[in-house]
Structures are given as C-alpha cells and as structure tokens.
C-alpha cells in the first residue's frame, strides 16, 4: 500500500479527523500494512500491547474470555476504526482477544509512534485526546448496554439532587491529593490549577449523585469515600465500578452530550470535587497545562472504567 494511499485512508479515520496533511503523510510513513485471514487471532486477552491496529477493510471481533472456557463477544471494529489502544495506553495488556471476522486489511502503528501523537502540547495532540475520550465513552456505553440487557427492563425514573443541595466543604490538603496514584505524574502547578477549578462537597452514604438516563449535572472526582457506579433495574442491580479516592464519575454525558449511561450513588460518606458542566466544557476544550492534566485524568479514568465494566460481564458470563 503506497504511502499516499495510506495517508488518504488516514484522512477518513474519525479519530484523526482534522489532522493536517503533512501530519498524516508522516504517520503514513511509520504505519505497517498487514492482512489477516478470517479467524486469525491478532492477539490474546492479557497479552502485552505493542501496537494499535487501524481497520482498512474487513472486520475484527473483540471477545472476552471467561472462566469455564467460555467467550463473550463484546464488540466489532470495521473500516476506519481502531483496536488495541487500551492496553497500549495503560500498559496492562490487551483487555480482550481480537480476531479477524473476515479477510481484513490493517495498518499497524507501534507504541512509540502512537504515544508520540499524544505527547505533544500542540492542538493536534489535544484534539486526539478529546477524540479518544469520545471513543472510549462510546465503547463504555456499548459495554454498559450489554450488561443492562442481562438485567432486563428499563432504568427506573430517578432524579439526582441539584448541585446546590450538596453541602459545600473546604478543599483537601494538596499533599494528600498528590499521593494519589491518579496524580503522581502531574506537574504540581497544573495539578493545583485543576484542583482549584471546582468546588468541594460532602455527601452522605446512599445519596444518588447521578441518575441513569438523565443529564449528568457535573464531573465528580472522589477525594474521600467511595461512590458506586451502578445499573439498576427494579430490585436487580449490577455494580459496574467503585469510584474511590482519585477516581471520577458522572462525566460520560458531558463528553458526548447523551444522558448518563449509569447511576452514581455514594457508598461511603464522601468528599467530592465537583466541576459543573460549564467548567467541564471549558477545561475539556482548553489547550493549556491544566487542560492537559484534566484530559489525562479523564483518559485514565475511562480506561479503568472500560476494564472494570468487563469484570461483571465476565462474572455473568461465567455463571451462565
């Protein structure tokens, strides 16, 4: 596949939308073409991630392997879509087995080149981070829909409290925040900028902060305590994740403009950093050091959420 054809294909990839032609030409030079026959396994679940794959033609399936030698198909990727970026970004191995569903043509981009695209402080790097956040949000919604389907029924109508109803409190000690793994790598000034961009609230256990199917009022980050991210259908519920210190919730709908895909309910008494929608939008779309910290935090959180969401899926599949 000539570089010019590769660059032309890359121009059609939604993740790279808006990237300048010289950038795409550079990228085309480091891409490696590959083909896969139907049934070929491109990698196994848990294997170390070394590259991302762009689907040029054909289709791939992503399958979760669960105990009892069972498998569950979680998603498919067709032309213009990418696979493999989760394991590459969090360094924890591939989340699922990926296999060609039909004869497939691919372009592979190695770890260093993919990371280089994200590393810069240029507009293209910021745009890519935002698109990745949107892509991960879409994938998270797909996984949550699969889980919700196992419960049957519809989400109960519920209302989360208005932000004004939450009891405001003082910010936490910044030394405590810096010790959280979420913020280890962050520049202290940028972290301070992020931590002072919102307000802090207390909430008692059992309080619903985000209701499924309704617009989320804010981005929340747990400072102390823990908040359950749950799917509820009647008296049945699946806990999808637990947002403990340093973990965020409530932001999916702020990224893609859709209603919240799940509810968030305080499990422990909690102190939360709250960024209302307008503050979230501002940080999400800015291109400075604080926004970089923020986008990094969102990316890490989404990657963790995608992994956590597979855990109840695996338990359910194993129990069938």
């Amino acid at each position: 596949m000539p570089d010019a054809d590769v660059a032309a294909f890359l121009a059609t990839v939604p993740l790279l939308e808006g990237r300048a032609e010289p950038d795409l030409a550079d990228l085309a030079r480091v891409m490696r073409p590959r083909t896969a026959a139907a049934g070929d396994v491109l990698w196994h679940q848990g294997e170390e991630a070394r590259e991302v794959l762009f689907v040029v033609e054909g289709a791939l399936t992503a399958t979760l392997q669960v105990p009892g030698e069972r498998t569950v198909e979680i998603g498919r990727a067709g032309p213009g879509q990418i696979v493999g970026e989760i394991g590459l970004l969090d360094g924890r191995g591939h989340t699922m087995r990926v296999q060609a569903a039909e004869p497939t043509t691919l372009l592979a981009l190695g770890r260093l080149d993919f990371e280089a695209m994200l590393r810069g402080r240029n507009p293209a790097a910021f745009a890519l981070k935002r698109r990745l956040a949107a892509l991960f949000t879409t994938r998270l919604r797909t996984q949550l829909r699969l889980l919700a389907g196992t419960l049957g029924g519809d989400a109960a109508a519920a209302e989360a409290p208005a932000l004004a109803d939450l009891e405001q409190c003082r910010p936490p000690d910044s030394r405590y925040m810096r010790r959280m793994a979420t913020f280890h790598d962050f520049d202290p000034l940028a972290l301070w900028g992020f931590l002072t961009s919102g307000t802090y609230v207390r909430c008692p256990p059992g309080r619903t902060l985000v209701a499924e199917g309704t617009p989320s009022p804010a981005y929340f980050l747990t400072v102390n305590g823990a908040v359950e991210r749950v799917l509820v259908r009647g008296d049945r519920r699946i806990r999808v994740g637990l947002a403990g210190p340093g973990k965020a919730f409530g932001y999916e709908g702020l990224i893609d403009g859709l209603p919240s895909p799940l509810a968030a309910v305080a499990r422990e008494r909690s102190v939360l950093l709250v960024l209302p929608r307008e503050h979230f939008d501002e940080l999400f779309h800015k291109e400075d050091a604080v926004a970089r910290v923020f986008l990094e935090a969102i990316q890490r959180d989404l990657l963790a959420s995608l992994r956590h969401t597979l855990r109840p899926a695996a338990r359910l599949a194993a129990s069938v």
């Binding site: 848990g46 105990p67 959280m180 340093g246």
Partner: protein, 306 residues
C-alpha cells in the same frame, strides 16, 4: 498488608499454588503484582486438610517467620501434600520498629480445640484504641487464647464468639452469618471510639469442608493525614477467585479447567498467574461462600452491608 490463598476442591498438590505458578503465593511475598509498594516479608502460614491423612478433620499446620521462598522445608512439604482444602498466608507488616514479627502473629489462626481457622488481609486502623472494647463481645475462654498482638487474632476470636458452638463445625451459612455479625460489632465499636478511617477486612475462614471469604472495608476512602499505608490502601484491597473442575497445567499455563457443576475453587488476593483470564474479581463489599457437597461445590456470593 498481606496476601492470602484459599482452596477447596479436588486434591491439589500444594506446591502448584505455593511455588509453581508465575504469580504464586510465595512469589507474592516479595513481588506482589497488585500491591507493588509493599512486600509481605513477615512470615508464612498454612493449614491443609487431607481426607486421606490421620485424623483428617485436623489440618496439617505449618508456620514460619522465615521468608518462604528460601524455606526448603516448606518446599519439600509442599511437594508431598495434596489437600482438598488449603489456607495459606504471607504476612506483611509496616516497615517500623513497632511491628512484631513472631510465630504467634502468623496466620491462619486456630485456637486449640476449635475447628474453624481464619486468615486476614487488611488492618483495623487505631486497633489499640478499640481492642479492649471488644472483650465484652468475645467469649472469655476464647479471649484467653489470644497469644499474639494482631487485630486479626481478635477478629478471629470475635467471629468464633458469634457461633452457637465455637468448638464445633458450623454449617457454612452459620459461619457466614457469624462473620457478618462480627463485622457489625466491629463497626459499632469503631463508631463508639470515633474511629472513621479506612480499615480493610478481607478475611477467609474454613472448616476444611467449607470456605467463607470477605472483600470488605470499613470507611473505605478515608485516611489519617500522612498515613504510611495510604498508597497501599487507596485501591480497594483486592480479592479474586477461580472456579471450575480442577486447577491444572494445560498448554504451558496454569488455570482452572471447565467444570459443570464446579468441583474446585481458588480464592486469592491476586490471581496466581499473570494471565488472569480464568480468574474473576470478587465484588467489593461482598462475601463468598463455598462448600463441598455430594453434588459438587456449592458456591455463592452475597452483598455485605455491615
């Protein structure tokens, strides 16, 4: 913090889970994958039930404060015993002069004359403040048998004290209920003493025919300032399980084979292999119970709301 391993099912050579896998329990003493800021160097303990042994209702016991990876006796022994039930523990303590590394502090705990054993992965913060308030909830005869300095041994005595007969073999349901009741008592005593900081209580109990395990924490997410355990505790203390036919080596890797109904279960602080495909994470705030029955292994998960 510590690492735990529990097994119930088909006879299984102890060496396989203690030494052979690429994230075996002994390896987790010096290289835990899910707790990489903290090592478990304060000793090893094991209880193993073998129905073909003399007095099969009594477990084989081994405890040593030496590092298990250098313990040849443990290696020789692990290559000879194939229990149907196993509890094994590597102990981690804070790196300070206040920690007591002693044989009496090694898990699993089992008081003379009792049939229930317990091991613990976690710690009750400010335990010294609440320790003696627990006395009123512990059978005096059991309280007298506490030899060590750990919160874990008190948790054990407290759970035993909730049983109708602390010296008998409780039904799995009764043992689970006693564990939940003990957690409720701990919550009340903590509240009475103004203790409101994160205290993980992943315990595992066994009678040799059943297992009860919790993945639980009081006040998760709350820490005292400058706490030395903070970074270890920030994630919810982990617990995993693998359930199926038997734990075996196949295609060059260790894993649980398919089994319907299941015949064996492994419960561990972290998967025993770097490939965790055959492992499932225990949900936070929950309890697992497993029992060997005539039709196979009966296994349940329930929410804990202590």
């Amino acid at each position: 913090m510590c690492r735990i391993l529990a097994y119930l099912g088909e006879p299984l050579l102890a060496r396989h889970v203690l030494f052979d896998t690429d994230n075996s329990l002994v390896r987790q003493s010096y290289s835990p994958r899910m707790m990489n800021t903290f090592l478990n160097l304060a000793g090893f303990g094991m209880k193993a039930w073998d129905p073909t042994s003399l007095r099969p209702e009594e477990p084989f016991t081994y405890r040593a404060t030496t590092l298990p990876t250098f313990d040849r006796n443990l290696r020789y022994m692990a290559a000879k015993i194939a229990p149907t039930c196993l509890l094994a523990h590597v102990r981690g303590v804070t790196y300070s002069g206040e920690s007591v590394v002693a044989e009496t502090n090694l898990h699993p705990f089992q008081f003379p004359g009792t049939r229930v054993t317990l091991m613990h992965n976690g710690h009750l913060r400010r335990f010294a403040t609440m320790r003696y308030a627990l006395v009123e909830h512990v059978d005096p005869a059991l309280a007298q048998r506490i030899e060590g300095t750990t919160d874990s041994e008190w948790i054990y005595a407290l759970i035993l004290s909730q049983l109708a007969d602390p010296y008998g073999v409780p039904e799995t349901r009764e043992l689970a209920d006693a564990t939940a009741a003990a957690l409720r008592i701990l919550r009340r005593v903590r509240a009475d003493h103004g203790i409101d900081t994160s205290s993980p209580v992943n315990v595992c109990l066994s009678t040799g025919r059943s297992l009860v395990a919790t993945r639980f924490s009081f006040d998760y997410g709350w820490y005292p300032p400058e706490d030395e355990m903070l970074e270890t505790d920030l994630p919810f203390v982990s617990l995993w399980y693998a359930i199926g036919g038997e734990y075996a080596e196949q295609d060059g890797g260790w894993g649980m084979t398919a089994g319907d109904p299941p015949r064996s279960v492994l419960i561990a602080s972290e998967p025993l292999t770097t490939d965790s495909t055959s492992w499932l994470e225990v949900p936070e705030y929950s309890m697992l119970t497993a029992e060997l029955g005539p039709g196979g292994l009966e296994f349940e998960t329930r929410d804990l709301d202590a």
